[in-house]
């Protein structure tokens, strides 16, 4: 045992009094908080996933079998809200908590007490949201986009709970984003200039700015819904001089940057994993940084492509169509750079790399269907059909969630000090990959044939396709239990991981032992 390790233990005792459950309540340690975020997000993933199972079970056959339409609507709504705000966003915040300080050579996040708060208000937000499902009249049933007047005139009495839970989620994300920005700006190790930061740090830096720019707009939108419903204002009520279309503008002004909030950190993760398993440096580092910034900037001027069918003037439709298509340029740069990184690399196919490769291909498919949706004249056909559902599940499930899985496998040895079970992980990957395509790919065809989204019943011609989709859905849901098993096994034991278990990996996080000690980089490393 080296003296270094001895000192480390000593420091642990010195700095950290609380143990047991209070450790988790009162912790200000970025690794503890990161782990809590990741576990929370995984639990929410399973909760939101079981709602998806209810949806797919109901849609297994035409007609109404299992649930009432009103309950079905609550399932689609809460599934969306949970997956967006409860699964994907907290998973990224958890990864940022764990990895950003270690990647920039900082001892912790800049604002550790606020970090504790921003995590611990989240379970309350989701407790409120989920509890509203058990109220008389049911929970939110207006879609995760809560369009007025569905969320105002026609919503159930529990809408106030939905509004407050979104407020809390927003406050949590804003606090998390401020923490990330301050950490990155003020706590980089000496020599860690902005253009030396790993791309995961860069993409999160830009994401954090998107968060503080648009989460307040969401807070404003839900507040207007609240006052329209309960206090007699008419922001969105035409009878009082308001305009329901205005709701869509405000919502999507938040909503479009939001979808990039859910994908930019993925780009950072993939940009770490592909070079590591190709044993080559990332191709076009600075173009990756600029492409990320360009995507973030463009995200503010494309929101109305969600609203082509609201009767916009042709000039506006054309503007939003071209602006949207422009986003594929920086995104194309990224895909090109990933492929160029692999070109002539010495590639090995461990599970993180498999998920990263699946990400590149399947996310690109999601991008292509996005381009199709951007074409105004054909969007009138695709709008509100299963084609849209297929599109955003390709970018969110095989995009964001696959990248989170890739990140988990990539950094699990660093977090736990053990190697995960590669065989089981490969089973998880292959079952997920096959089932996710059985689940989402046929949805494109159902949508093109005219099947509307958010409907509990459908006409007979869609029966076969929905049966296939549902089977894919159940298989994908079950596959995620393998992931849970892999993680639990890895936390409990397994082959000892070295400080740098991936030979091609780069970055400061691999210079500390595995598992990462409770406190890292108390003396800042020197970055050359």
């Amino acid at each position: 045992m080296s003296t270094v390790a001895g000192e480390m233990d000593h420091n642990d005792h010195h700095h950290h009094a609380p143990s047991g459950i209070t450790r988790w309540f009162f912790t200000t340690n970025h690794k503890d908080i990161g782990s809590m975020y990741l576990w929370f997000s995984f639990i929410m993933f399973l909760v939101g996933g079981s709602m998806a199972m209810v949806i797919r079970a109901e849609l297994f056959q035409p007609g109404l079998q299992l649930v009432e339409p009103h309950f079905f609507n609550q399932m689609t709504t809460v599934h969306g809200l949970i997956m967006v705000f409860g699964a994907v966003m907290p998973a990224f915040t958890g990864l940022a908590n764990w990895m950003v300080p270690m990647m920039i050579g900082a001892p912790d996040m800049a604002l550790p007490r606020m970090n504790n708060w921003s995590f611990w208000i989240l379970p309350f937000a989701f407790a409120i949201l989920l509890a509203s499902l058990f109220m008389e009249g049911g929970g939110p049933a207006f879609g995760w986009t809560f369009y007025a007047p569905l969320s105002t005139t026609y919503s159930s009495d529990s809408t106030a709970l939905f509004v407050f839970s979104v407020h809390i989620m927003g406050i949590s994300s804003i606090m998390g984003a401020i923490n990330v920005i301050v950490t990155i700006m003020n706590m980089r190790a000496p020599g860690m200039t902005y253009m030396k930061m790993p791309l995961f740090v860069w993409t999160w830096f830009i994401t954090a700015f998107l968060l503080i720019a648009v989460m307040p707009v969401l807070a404003g939108a839900v507040t207007m819904v609240l006052t329209d419903k309960y206090f007699g204002t008419s922001f969105f009520d035409a009878a009082g001089g308001g305009d329901p279309v205005l709701f869509q503008h405000i919502f999507w002004f938040f909503g479009h940057p939001e979808v990039y909030i859910m994908i930019l950190p993925s780009f950072g993760i993939i940009s770490a994993i592909i070079p590591a398993f190709s044993r080559k440096r990332l191709f076009g580092y600075s173009s990756m940084v600029y492409a990320t910034a360009a995507i973030a900037g463009l995200s503010f001027i494309v929101w109305a492509h969600h609203m082509f069918t609201t009767g916009m003037p042709v000039a506006a439709e054309i503007f939003f169509m071209y602006a949207t298509m422009l986003i594929s340029v920086p995104t194309g740069v990224k895909v090109f750079n990933w492929v160029a990184t692999m070109w002539r690399g010495s590639i090995s196919f461990e599970t993180p790399m498999l998920f990263a490769l699946a990400f590149v291909i399947l996310f690109t498919i999601g991008g292509f269907s996005g381009l199709m949706l951007a074409i105004t004249p054909v969007d009138f056909q695709y709008h509100d059909t299963y084609f849209v559902v297929a599109h955003f599940h390709y970018v969110l499930v095989t995009g964001a969630i696959f990248s989170i899985m890739a990140a988990a496998y990539y950094w699990l040895p660093k977090w736990t000090g053990h190697m995960y079970n590669e065989t089981l992980a490969k089973w998880h990957f292959w079952t997920s990959l096959i089932s996710v395509n059985v689940l989402f790919f046929p949805m494109h065809f159902a949508g093109l044939a005219g099947m509307p989204r958010r409907i509990p019943d459908y006409s007979l011609q869609f029966a076969d396709i929905n049966q296939i989709v549902s089977i894919g859905g159940f298989a994908f849901g079950l596959s995620q239990l393998i992931f849970l098993a892999v993680v639990i096994k890895c936390v409990r034991g397994g082959e000892k991981a070295s400080a740098k278990p991936w030979e091609g990996a780069e970055g400061l996080e691999w210079t500390v032992p595995s598992p990462a000690p409770y406190h890292t980089f108390e003396t800042p490393p020197e970055v050359k």
Partner: protein, 197 residues
């Protein structure tokens, strides 16, 4: 703390960064609400979202352009919960740009109560809204209607001859809202006057 700690760099000013970021957060929260009046202004200027000039236009002095004929269609609807009947006398008229036309709309109040309504116009395509000038319209004011009464409400309009060449048809849609609870006092006073007779 150990005593021989070398003096670290002056602590970076977290508070300043946080202040600035919070300023952005508060500003963007305000921006969300500022979108409401901004949207109003934007719609009024561009005719976006079918907004029309809902005020009395100057008397028509424009030359009639007989080389073009535009089909103007009328649609009426009542808001959910509004019990009135509301119909245009004709569903469409063909007009030359610059020509003045009058179209009557019929309303009846089938309930046992005196009620007040307000109609709100919308034009499709949106860009045509800017060229539709109304010299007289029931939609400028609230409409009182006694229990069981009927009325014929005129709307006089002309199309600006500058209306873009590609517009051959435009649709004027009126939605009628129940305003009894929020009626202006002078409108309510008309009921008193009639009952006094």
């Amino acid at each position: 703390m150990t005593d021989n700690n070398p003096t670290p760099n002056p602590r970076p000013d977290n508070a300043r960064v946080i202040r600035r970021l919070l300023f952005v957060v508060v500003g963007m929260f305000g921006f969300g609400f500022a979108l409401v009046p901004l949207y109003e202004v934007f719609c009024d200027i561009t005719g976006f979202n079918g907004r029309t000039k809902n005020e009395q236009a100057a008397v028509n002095t424009r030359q009639v352009d007989t080389s073009r004929t535009i089909n103007v269609q009328f649609i009426t609807r009542v808001n959910t919960g509004m019990p009135w009947g509301f119909k245009p006398e004709v569903t469409s008229v063909r007009v030359h740009p610059g020509e003045t036309k009058v179209v009557n709309f019929l309303a009846n109040n089938p309930t046992g109560q005196n009620m007040v309504a307000q109609t709100v116009p919308s034009v499709a395509p949106g860009e045509a809204g800017l060229y539709l000038n109304k010299t007289e319209c029931f939609c400028f004011n609230q409409q009182p209607l006694a229990a069981g009464a009927k009325t014929k409400m005129p709307m006089q309009f002309y199309l600006d001859p500058d209306i873009p060449k590609h517009i051959h048809t435009l649709t004027l849609s009126y939605t009628m809202y129940d305003m009894t609870a929020n009626a202006q006092p002078d409108v309510l006073a008309t009921f008193e006057a009639t009952s006094a007779d």
